[in-house]
Every structure is written in C-alpha cells, then in structure tokens.
C-alpha cells in the first residue's frame, strides 16, 4: 500500500514536470479591446489604460496594461497546464486542487500593443499536513517577459493538490 503511494507521488512529480517542460513559453496577445473590457468590468477609468495621449503625457510610450490584469494573464497560462495534462490529472493523481496563495512581484509597467510571453517554472512539490489533511504544495513561478527576456512581473502561484488516497 505504502509502496503504491510512493509510486503515485513519484509519477505525479515526474508528470507535472514533463508537462511544464512541454509548455515552455507561451506568446500572449493582449489587445485594446480586451483591456477596455477589463477596465469596464472592474469599473476602472484610469486614463493611462484607456487613452494613449494621457499615457504619453504621463511619461509612458503609450497605454498600459492594468497591473490588476497581470494575474488574469498568468491564470491563462496556468490553465494551459491543466488542459495539457488533461483528464489524466484527476483520473490518476489528484482528487482536489486549490489556489491557496500568490506572491506577485512587479518590475516594470506593461505597455499595451507590445509582444509578451509567459514562462512557467515549477517548484518541487512539498508535502504538507494541516487541519484539512495532507496536501502537496506546488508553486508555479509564472513570469511575463518581452521578446528581449526582460521580466515585467512574476506570480508565485501556489496550489495545494490533494493526491488520491490522501486524507
């Protein structure tokens, strides 16, 4: 029993690393329409996101992507992980996944109408036991970069993953 659990944990760790390697970096396109819509939804009328002239007057080269949209970008990239790993993830390994925390570091303001890419690195899963049982903590270090590999922001996106057979 213990042996099969050890095997499951080993396979789980190997598989998630394989998927992240397979993903490499993803190019992302964020257009004005998307940012206009986002600003409308969160009721943000800050002109540096909506008006090139104001953004330029403020000292930027053009409109900016709201920092609040950053996690929507990283979420999209992380979703790709779950799409790639597919049903296998729940059939073979996990019985539950929950986003428990994020640590976001901002380095530079993101200009709209610029090409970006998202890169994901994975930490080694760490076993944790608490009130709600045993989980594996996995951090997806998700970075947004430009074509020159300049980093704009990083989201250390932590999931608690409950593996099959854990209580």
């Amino acid at each position: 029993m213990a042996g099969s659990k050890t095997q499951l944990v080993k396979k789980f760790k190997t598989r998630i690393k394989e998927v992240v390697r397979e993903m490499r970096t993803q190019e992302i396109d964020i257009d004005e329409r998307e940012i206009n819509k986002f600003c409308e939804l969160i009721d943000d009328n800050n002109s540096i996101y909506l008006d090139d002239a104001v953004a330029i007057k403020t000292g930027y080269k053009g409109r900016l992507i709201p920092p609040g949209y950053f996690m929507s970008i990283t979420n999209r990239a992380i979703s790709q992980f779950f799409i790639i790993i597919g049903p296998e993830f729940y059939q073979k390994f996990a019985t539950g996944v929950i986003h428990t925390s994020s640590e976001i570091e901002f380095y530079s303001a993101m200009l709209l109408n610029k090409k970006y890419k998202v890169k994901i690195d994975l930490t080694e899963p760490v076993k944790k036991t608490g009130k709600k049982g045993t989980y594996y903590s996995v951090v997806f270090k998700t970075s947004v970069l430009d074509e020159n590999d300049t980093i704009y922001a990083i989201d250390n996106h932590e999931f608690f993953i409950k593996l099959a057979g854990d209580r």
């Binding site: 800050n46 609040g68 986003h99």
Partner: protein, 144 residues
Amino acid sequence: MKLKSKNPINFEIGQKIPPFKVKIEKKVYGKYNRLIHEINPLHFNLNYAKKLGFDNIVIAGNFLFSFITKWIIDWVDDIKLIKNISMQFGKPVYIDEEIVCKGKIVEIQNVGNKKIIICKYLVEKLSGETVMNGIINLIFINNK
C-alpha cells in the same frame, strides 16, 4: 513623507488605507470569465461548485486581485509604486457577495534612496469572514 502624484499623500505608520467595497455581480463575473477564457468549472458551473462542497460559484483569486491593485492604485495614484503583493486566500467569495478591502501602513523602511512602505491588508465579507489577506509593498524612489 509626501509622494509626487496628482493627489499627494502623507504616509505614516498606522495610517489606514481608505476602505474599498465591491459587489461582484453574476453578470459581470460571467463576462470576466469569457474575457479570460476561464476553464475551471468551479468559477462558472453551479452544480460543479456544489459537488465540491461550495455554496455557490466561487470567484477566482485572479479576479479578486484585480480589485486589490485598483484599490491601491486609486489610493496612491501611481501604478509604479507597487512593488509586490502577497495574497493568502481564506473563505471563498461567492457571486453576488459584497467584499470590503481594508488595510494600513505597518512599517516604513529607508533603504538608500528608497522608501519602502509596507501595508497589511485584508478582504472581508460583510459578515466579517476573512476571504483574503496579505502584504503590499510600495516603493518610492527619491531622486534628489
């Protein structure tokens, strides 16, 4: 310390950030999910959410984060000041629930020509349950 912004603020330890209240309506959240191509059914499928033991559709952390940054940027009036934000999630936020963001400055550090303003914050439901908390670091560079 006074920041150079459209609406200068004096920062002091213990100073409260003006609270921010928002209700995340079903219609708005649905539009957000379509915008970002959300794939996790927990955030749009009521039956799935209930099957997992939740009372309703759960608002994703990434959408809550949008309001944290908006709240802080509206306060300091400068997007460049935010250096980092940590978020620890607590109770789930369901659609059509109202939440309040509260915070205060807990420390001000002088590091070379930089002032680091450390704020602690929490997000509560109107019932008082904490749904999120964390730390926000603002960095002000004095060019003089």
